[in-house]
């Protein structure tokens, strides 16, 4: 019993040293792949041989990736995922992701493709490989109709803006408006509830998402419909997974010839957005106009 605390201290120092050396070891041994964090992925042939592809989608981001009333995945992203499974001739295993762990899931090989409304950014392109885009997006800000915010300058020093951790809205506001206080949530469902409870003066997210929210819920107005740069949304694969990336790019070009993503829009997004946004949102064959 004597020196009990000394034992604890020693054990901890040993653990930390071990963990540290292991992590450093990982780093220096990362030469076999072109990413330093020891990425894992399955090639196209391996996926075909296994008969199953793991696709990461959102489960709470209607109408892009969500679970419908029958417990089935549905939405614009999922419609595309189904097509991928069909053309590859494999079964699809959907993996529900949160915004903040999309890169993680690819790097650790938990999924083969991320199709979770993933906006292409230079920072993310360093960590994962993006295929051709299939949708346009910008940022937008929604606020209650009785206190609409039409410019970010209207946000007071004590006001908080709701964002979801790991989204482009968070990165954009952190970088360009460091003085705006952000209230961060790790899931869409929680951010929505918090916004409904008026825990923040506004909610910043992809404009597709905030427009859908304002259409589906009464009493909210999208005061800032477009913020920052026009970006695109694309499927992503693990860095270095060239066979799968090439197949995806060929697929997107091929199905674009039949206007696949227009059909996708009409099947999944028309109810929410109407036809006004169709040409604005949809990208065919990876060609951004």
């Amino acid at each position: 019993m004597k020196n009990n605390w000394l034992k604890k201290l020693l054990a901890t120092v040993a653990t930390v040293a071990l963990a540290g050396s292991f992590l450093v070891g990982c780093d220096s041994a990362g030469g076999s792949t072109d990413n330093t964090s020891g990425v894992k992925y399955r090639t196209l042939d391996e996926i075909k041989a296994s008969g199953k592809i793991n696709i990461g989608v959102f489960s709470d981001k209607s109408p892009f990736g969500y679970v419908d009333e029958n417990g089935k995945y549905a939405g614009y992203d999922v419609y595309f995922a189904e097509k991928i499974g069909e053309d590859l001739g494999v079964e699809i295993n959907y993996v529900s992701t949160e915004a903040a762990n999309r890169i993680e899931y690819l790097q650790t090989g938990k999924v083969d493709i991320i199709l979770a409304n993933f906006t292409v950014t230079p920072e993310r392109a360093e960590e994962v490989d993006f295929a051709l885009p299939y949708m346009n997006v910008a940022l937008g800000v929604v606020s209650p109709s009785d206190a609409v915010i039409t410019s970010l300058d209207e946000i007071g020093a004590d006001d908080e803006v709701i964002v979801i951790s790991g989204t482009t809205a968070e990165t954009y506001l952190t970088k360009n408006y460091p003085n705006i206080k952000l209230q961060k949530y790790d899931a869409y469902a929680q951010a929505k509830t918090a916004f409904e409870n008026r825990n923040g003066v506004a909610w910043a997210n992809d404009n597709t998402e905030v427009i859908a929210f304002a259409i589906e819920n009464e009493g909210y107005t999208v005061g800032i419909p477009s913020l920052g740069d026009q970006d695109t949304i694309a499927p992503a694969v693990t860095k270095g997974n060239e066979t799968l990336l090439k197949w995806l790019n060929d697929e997107i070009v091929a199905i674009g010839a039949d206007n696949f993503f227009h059909a996708d829009y009409e099947a999944t997004l028309l109810d929410t957005y109407g036809s006004d946004y169709e040409d604005e949102l949809v990208v065919e064959s990876g060609i951004v106009k």
Binding site: M1, K2, N4, W5, K8, L9, T12, V16, A19, G20, L23, V24, C26, D27, S37, A99, A100, N101, I103, E104, Q107, E123, R124, E126, E127, S165, G166, T167, E170, T171, T174, Q183, K184, Y185, D186, Q190, T193, A194, N197, R198, N199
Partner: protein
């Protein structure tokens, strides 16, 4: 591992540590107060209050903190009770911890044989003297390991605060990974910071335990 990244993120982790500690310790303080009051009520079998605390303990010991926080933070505003995220964290931790602390204190009180009270009373001590000089010193000494375990348990429970938008250590790490994808660095710092927070509690706890339980260890 990139040392520069570690240094860049240090201030954010420090801020998260301070927030975690602030909410953690306020919650623990609340838990201790509830624990002592509740244990006394249950031990002395005060009517009505005894039943209320019994129900309270069962509810809070049999639901996860995450569920309690969800309820306090997301559901209560729907019926007009709005509490700030920090307050909600303190409340959740205090109520959860309180339920555990009551049982810990009570186990100490109940472990003192009734014959000691009877003997002390027969020697002419008053009921108050019996409590202060005979029961409490022994009961507290027996409760100490349980209380320390609760402290560490509660501090670790703070890791679910991300749900209610509190930037605690866990959420700060997750958030940074989501934005900049420096996974190894962020997770390494997360482990280190949790150790920085909990190791002193564990070490000081061991020392205190030896002091107050001198009679039992006997060396």
């Amino acid at each position: 591992m990139d040392i520069k990244v570690l240094i860049d993120y240090l201030p954010l982790y420090k801020e998260a540590l301070l927030l975690t500690l602030k909410i953690g310790w306020l919650g623990i303080l609340a838990a201790l107060v509830i624990g002592i009051a509740g244990a006394a009520i249950l031990h002395f079998k005060i009517p009505v209050l005894k039943q209320i605390f019994g129900v309270y303990i069962e509810i809070f010991r049999n639901t996860p903190l995450l569920v309690q926080l969800f309820f306090i933070y997301f559901a209560l505003p729907k019926i007009g009770i709005k509490i700030s995220a920090e307050m909600c964290g303190v409340l959740g931790l205090g109520l959860l911890g309180g339920a555990y602390m009551i049982e810990t204190f009570r186990s100490g009180l109940e472990s003192i044989a009734k014959i000691q009270t009877e003997s002390a009373l027969s020697l002419g001590m008053t009921k108050g003297q019996v409590l202060v000089h005979i029961i409490l010193p022994q009961a507290l000494s027996i409760s100490v390991p349980g209380i320390l375990a609760n402290l560490i348990f509660l501090l670790k429970e703070t890791s679910v605060f991300s749900t209610i938008s509190l930037m605690d250590l866990m959420f700060t790490a997750k958030d940074l990974i989501g934005m900049y994808a420096k996974t190894i660095e962020c997770l390494f710092m997360l482990v280190v910071f949790y150790l920085i927070m909990l190791l002193p509690v564990s070490i000081i706890g061991s020392i205190i335990e030896r002091r107050v339980r001198y009679a039992e260890f006997g060396d």
